[in-house]
Amino acid sequence: MEFSLEMLSVIGAVVVVSFGAIGPAFSEGRAIAAAMEAIARQPESAGPLSRTLFVGLAMIETMAIYCLVIALLLLYANPFIG
């Protein structure tokens, strides 16, 4: 079976999205678990904690979104396909 450049790009996009989702998913889970624990221990500090949590989650999520953008570039704006 012969692979064309288009097929390889689609496979590449799938690999990028799937593996790019794993790391951020794990780390977001850990971050949220830690924040939950902290809020359960100190409910009065829920405000600043959740704000920091949101900022941190945004930072983590950026990695997944970089992968998404790479996948979209592969699918829609591939520089190697004319």
Binding site: R51, F54, V55, E61, I65, L68, V69, Y76
Partner: protein, 223 residues
């Protein structure tokens, strides 16, 4: 998902300038917000009516958040950050209105907003700390870190743009796929999720802008 999300769909041409759908939506939201503020502020009363009370609550809530992050008098940062937040909420929620697409789902609008944040960070930094103090931040622990600091300056602006764009656009794609797979009622929970995502992304964008500005004016640690 009939067209690529990276290409703007052009509605009409104004002379030689192509006008895309996002520009029309953006100007519509801007007009709507301006009209709403004008209507609400036309007759200010000491005992506010419903609409004036709503505006006051919104502004005060944003002011409080900004004060908590920047730890300074928020009045000079409120116009930029508050407008940013309210505009982003409206823009991200444009997906709820049938026939409208969120302008943040294409790359131009987030790019412009991120560029605004980038320049305003330097503006506020220069204004409150002066030239030498402001640029001293780049060689702060050591001169060796200068390239990294400059790189971080650009990558954080870039990631601000990509985060908003990626979230909104990927949500649009998810809705398109769900509509394609299962027709009538299935997309509704995803649209509810979209409302949540839109508001959270607007919040995150504004918070990050506030954190960057706060780092530039020297009250919080740089992220």
């Amino acid at each position: 998902m009939e067209t690529s999300p990276l290409v703007a769909d052009i509605l009409f041409h104004l002379g030689p300038v192509p006008i895309s759908r996002d520009v029309v939506t953006t100007w519509g939201i801007m007009g709507l917000l301006t009209a709403a503020s004008w209507l609400g502020l036309r007759r200010l009363e000491l005992r506010p009516g419903r609409f004036q009370a709503m505006l006051e609550i919104t502004v005060e809530a944003i002011e409080k958040q900004i004060h908590e992050i920047i730890q300074r008098d928020p009045s000079s940062y409120l116009p930029l950050l508050g407008t940013l937040f309210i505009f982003l909420v409206c823009a991200n929620l444009a997906t709820v209105v049938p026939g409208m697409r969120p302008p943040t789902g294409h790359i131009e609008t987030p790019a412009v907003l991120a560029a605004t944040v980038f320049f305003s960070v330097h503006f506020f930094g220069l204004r409150s700390r002066g030239l030498s103090q402001h640029f001293r931040r780049y060689i702060e622990p050591n001169l060796l870190l200068l390239p990294l600091n400059i790189l971080a300056e650009f990558t954080r602006t870039f990631s601000l743009m990509i985060r908003l764009f990626g979230n909104m656009m990927s949500h649009e794609i998810v809705i398109a796929i769900v509509v394609l797979l299962a027709g009538l009622l299935m997309p509704i929970p995803f649209m509810l999720l979209g409302i949540l995502i839109g508001i959270i992304q607007a919040y995150i964008f504004t918070i990050l802008a506030a954190v960057f500005i706060g780092a530039a004016v020297g009250s919080v640690e740089s992220k």
